[in-house]
Amino acid sequence: MIPVQFDYLAPTSVEEALSALGQHGDDAKILAGGQSLLPVLRMRLNAPEVVIDLGGIASLRGIRDDGDAIVIGAMTTHHDVRDHALVKEHALLLSKAAAEVADSQIRHRGTFGGALAHADPAGDLGAPALALGAQFVIAGAGGTRTVEASDFFVDLFETAIGEDEILTEVRVPKHTGWGAHYEKFVRVAHQWPIVAIAATVKGSIDEARVGLTNMGSTPLRATATEQALAGATATGDGVRAAAELAAEGTNPPSDLNGAADYRQHLARVLTGRAVLKAAGV
């Protein structure tokens, strides 16, 4: 299907992009990998007059070491997040989750920043970012600000990024040596998760972080489970008991893939499995 006609801008710097955004306001849309935006345009669910492509801004792409954190540029592709040595070493959970996004073609186009800005509650990267306590660097006309993960995800498809702002990079505190597993439950391989669990643990188990995908209108953390796991020994029974708390406070959707109560059941079962795998048990 054919989108409504739009103008296309390809700025080469963040400043240029911001000024274009400032000029066109509501009528403009940012294009990253296009893997979510283009279907929206093609189905005519949105009809911006201007599309601002961030693809030409080199500074938005890449992953670097920044002391106690690694910094992932918004335009880094899922493929690169998955394979990057820094990610594997310091934020293994993100590498594992990126590997589960859609298929190879989409992973080569879709971007880390685009996925997080799109804020699909079924997206695979929100829960890991939340679990790892990522910080979101957002640039606007007045400079940049940093938003904690817990404040970034606002609602379905809604984040802290303002209309005239751009997500430039994401700082992920180092979780060096933490075990990790992303347990994605799907019916067919190329599907968004029905439910997914992002688990990362230090030792076996000193500390645990558990993020939940598609269990509410934003990514969630299974805090009750995390608390029950802290300091526990990673035995099957112990972990499963802690995982029984995973659905507390969740509000998952009901749809063709499963009713809310089934999703909550899945969250409990899969959290147990994910934590055990993360702990290497």
């Binding site: 054919i2 006609q5 929206v40 669910l45 949105n46 067919v188 079962v269």
Partner: protein
């Protein structure tokens, strides 16, 4: 002994790669949407968002004023020249058939029905303007779902007075093919085993890869329609019959067509509208649907409720089978509409010797997309019902499901066998196919593992599913079709053109859309005529070239079209022999034809078929009693259906904690007679299996109560990819049951995998958790349904909301009409 075994079979049986694939796979070919004509205009359709509504007004002014719009037309702007969409198979004389206009002016009966068309200079401009057409509707109550339709409280078409379209009945006692099923049921009730079940065949969407597309050029001597269709010949006939244009003025071309699976066995409103617009404006036009339109408005398949009663004695010998189907036609009766479930009527008794049988099919109208053929058409439904219920019988008797089948099936020495449904099966060997499948599958080892897992109470349980299927294909003997009130025959036509340079063109009335006819037919001609494979060109799909034909569906192209081709080739050889005798100054009786050469017995004299082609072309020297041509054609009307069969075995693992299912092993042993090209056969089986497995596990078209298609994109209508399937174990019997009803001994394979695999998979899933109290799980067996079946004994938990709209944008421009 068949003819093929008498000759050195250089080509038949060879794993030829498909010669058509390079262009098809790279897309550098003539898909309909790739065709561009000078001055061509583009169409966009305005579709009803409501399942049932009267049209109060259509305001086209804003759309007309949109840039580069040439015309905007709604139903009231057309007269008779628009024609009607036809139902070619009224299944009973009193069938209630709603009138089906390609573009109704007064009332829409399903969401997605076309109410107006925009014509513009580009497809983008047509699409933009379509959003400006302002249609006012008065929404009417819609009837959705078979059980609601049967209640007749809300009517899909109020003027018909009922949703019940037709009741078609076959009864073996009445037909004289068996005894009375009610008597068998009564006996079983008191002194045997009676199994009553209701199974659901969910609605499916054919989901061919190439969306439908049509181009119409009215500027030549003939009006030409290119269409992504399976049925160019039927399409031409229907255009002539309904639009008042003489057939001789119509040329239909099915260029390269990217899959159909029955979904392009249709004469569509879109084709009729494009035809009418092109004629009205005297300009070429093109319409290509979007995927969303395709899912919503191209015909759907299956959608039945099956009420089954199986009667048996205590040992599990079946004494009678009674079948009542309620089948959802959707809003209109499509070209073969009600005929699809009727095609299953003869197949519920499958490979078995049932003494009594009754089949009833009640078709109903609802306010949903109309349904029609989908790969297997009628036979997958029948096979599912019988193969599921035979497993239930095995459980009841307490024997292995293969054992219960063997007690009831036709033994190989009993062929030819006339069934309780009145068909004569020519050949088959169920014992051999089953033995081979069992061995290859490792049946006993997997049964042992299943037992071990059960005893251990493993979280992951193993189930084994069986499907011993047969089907009737090779549609069809014309007289039989006539007796069923089908509107056409079932013959096929072929011709052979011997070119002056010795090359060969063959023309077939079959219309390939991905099957590989070009390769398989070339192999047949290469062997039979004795010419190199590379020298044979297969032409089809253009009514100017292939003027006669009945197209491709129902696993008919090889067994019917291939036989027509064989007969045409044999005529060429006969004519050539006469010419050869003349040129060699020998008696025809002394000539022997082998390897493309006539030789005079006992001499080294001879002449090649290519030389004879050249001689006929030059026509300098040929017999007085002969035309200077060795070309020939043949029309073949099959004498019987064609009955491939096979044993399919499937092992499924079920995670009892989540309900997730995983295929562990799939083995099929299909007996399809002579195999022309094993590679193509494997491709047909693989693709067929995946489609049948997908019905069992993934695919389901769901409408909500208002009649909106909830599974309206591939996010919600789940198609599998290679990542979701395993490597299948495809084997054949060592000594196949050669068909006796065609020269090559072939049996159809295009639908076999789809027909067989669905029950094998569901039987396996049920078998894995039967010890947990489960006896049925509704298709598709989603993890949620499996989990609920295990934990609540309730496999029927519909959750009709759409999945998360991953591409939704919360903000701008989201008006109601945008989703059209």
């Amino acid at each position: 002994m068949t003819a093929t075994q008498d000759r050195p079979a250089a080509e038949i049986g060879k794993d030829r790669r498909r010669k058509e694939d390079q262009r098809l796979i790279t897309g550098r070919t003539r898909w309909t949407d790739n065709i561009t004509l000078p001055g061509m205009l583009h169409l966009a359709m305005v579709r009803s968002p409501f399942a049932h509504a009267t049209i109060t007004s259509v305001d086209v002014e804003a759309a007309k004023a949109s840039p580069n719009v040439v015309a905007v037309l709604s139903g009231k702007d057309f007269g008779d020249e628009l024609g009607v969409c036809i139902n070619a198979w009224p299944i009973t004389p009193d069938q209630k058939t709603p009138g089906h206009s390609p573009m109704p002016a007064d009332r829409v009966a399903f969401a997605g029905e076309i109410v107006a068309v925009v014509v513009a200079r580009s497809a983008a401009e047509a699409r933009d303007a379509a959003e400006l057409v302002d249609v006012e509707y008065d929404e009417q109550p819609a009837v959705i779902g078979i059980k609601n339709a049967l209640r007749d409280e809300v009517l899909a078409h109020p003027d018909l007075g009922t949703n019940k379209s037709a009741l078609w009945v076959f009864d073996s006692a009445e037909a004289g093919t068996g005894s009375d099923v009610e008597a068998a049921i009564e006996t079983a009730r008191t002194d045997g085993i009676l199994i009553e079940r209701e199974y659901r065949q969910q609605r499916l969407i054919p989901a061919f890869m190439e969306p439908r597309s049509v181009v119409v050029d009215p500027t030549g001597e003939q009006i030409t329609m290119w269409s992504a269709t399976q049925i160019p010949h039927i399409l031409r006939f229907a255009l002539a019959a309904t639009t008042g244009v003489p057939e001789s003025k119509i040329r239909v071309i099915a260029p390269d067509v990217g899959g159909g699976f029955g979904g392009k066995l249709q004469t569509t409103p879109e084709e009729w509208i494009a035809w009418a617009v092109a004629r009205r404006l005297s300009k070429p036009v093109k319409y290509t649907e979007t995927r969303s339109e395709s899912l919503m408005a191209a015909h759907h398949g299956r959608d039945q409720v099956q009420t089954l009663t199986l009667a048996a004695d205590k040992e599990g010998n079946v004494t009678g089978f009674k079948v009542h189907l309620d089948a959802d036609l959707g809003a209109y009766i499509a070209v073969v509409g009600g005929g699809v479930p009727v095609l299953g009527a003869f197949m519920f008794n499958a490979i078995y010797k049932f003494p009594s049988y009754r089949f009833e099919c009640q078709t109903v109208l609802t306010n949903t997309t109309f349904t029609d053929a989908y790969r297997g058409a009628g036979r997958p439904e029948a096979t599912y019902a019988i193969e599921r219920i035979m497993d239930e019988l095995a459980t009841e008797v307490g024997v292995d499901p293969l054992e219960i089948r063997e007690r009831n099936w036709i033994k190989h020495e009993e062929f030819p066998f006339t069934t309780v449904a009145g068909l004569e099966y020519d050949t088959g060997n169920y014992e051999a196919a089953t033995a081979k499948a069992k061995e290859s599958f490792g049946y006993d080892a997997l049964r042992a593992e299943q037992k071990e897992r059960r005893e251990r109470g493993d979280r992951v349980q193993l189930g084994i599913g069986v499907s011993t299927f047969t089907e009737m294909c090779g549609l069809a003997p014309s007289r039989v079709l006539g007796s069923l009130d089908y509107g056409a025959g079932g013959w096929e036509h072929a011709s052979v053109r011997m070119l002056a340079t010795g090359k060969v063109e063959i023309v077939t009335g079959a219309s390939a859309h991905g099957q590989g006819h070009e390769t398989a037919f070339s192999q047949i001609v290469a062997d039979r005529l004795g010419v190199p494979f590379e020298d044979v060109e297969v032409l089809h799909g253009d009514t100017q070239i292939a003027h006669k034909g009945l197209d491709t569906y129902g696993s008919r192209s090889l067994v019917v079209g291939g036989e027509a081709l064989v007969k045409a080739v044999d005529k060429v050889i006969d004519k050539a022999k006469h010419l050869a005798a003349h040129l060699l100054e020998a008696s025809e009786d002394d000539l022997e034809y082998k390897g493309g050469r006539f030789t005079v017995a006992g001499t080294d004299q001879g002449v090649a078929i290519q030389e004879l082609a050249t001689a006929a072309f030059a026509a300098h020297n040929y017999p007085e009693d002969m035309e200077p041509s060795i070309d020939a054609e043949a029309t073949y009307d099959p004498v019987n259906f064609n009955y491939p069969h096979g044993t399919h075995l499937c092992a499924m693992e079920v995670d009892t904690e989540t309900g997730a299912v995983k295929m562990r092993k799939y083995t099929c042993c299909d007996d399809i007679g002579t195999i022309i090209n094993p590679l193509i056969v494997a491709g047909q089986i693989h693709g067929g299996l995946v489609q049948g497995i997908a019905q069992a596990l993934w695919e389901e078209a769901v409408h909500d109560d208002a009649g909106t298609l909830v599974s309206g994109s591939f996010v919600d209508y789940l198609l599998p990819t290679a990542a979701d399937t395993i490597s299948f174990d495809v084997v054949h019997t060592d000594d196949p049951s050669i068909a006796t009803t065609n020269t090559l001994g072939t049996k159809g394979v295009g639908e076999a995998g789809t027909i067989a695999s669905t029950p094998a998979v569901v039987n396996a899933v049920v078998d894995a958790v039967r010890h947990l109290g489960v006896s049925d799980i509704q298709m598709p067996c989603t993890p949620e349904r499996v989990w609920r079946a295990i934990h609540a004994g309730d496999g029927d938990a519909p959750t009709p909301e759409t999945a998360m709209p991953h591409f939704r944008e919360g903000a701008l421009n989201q008006d109601e009409g945008a989703g059209q």
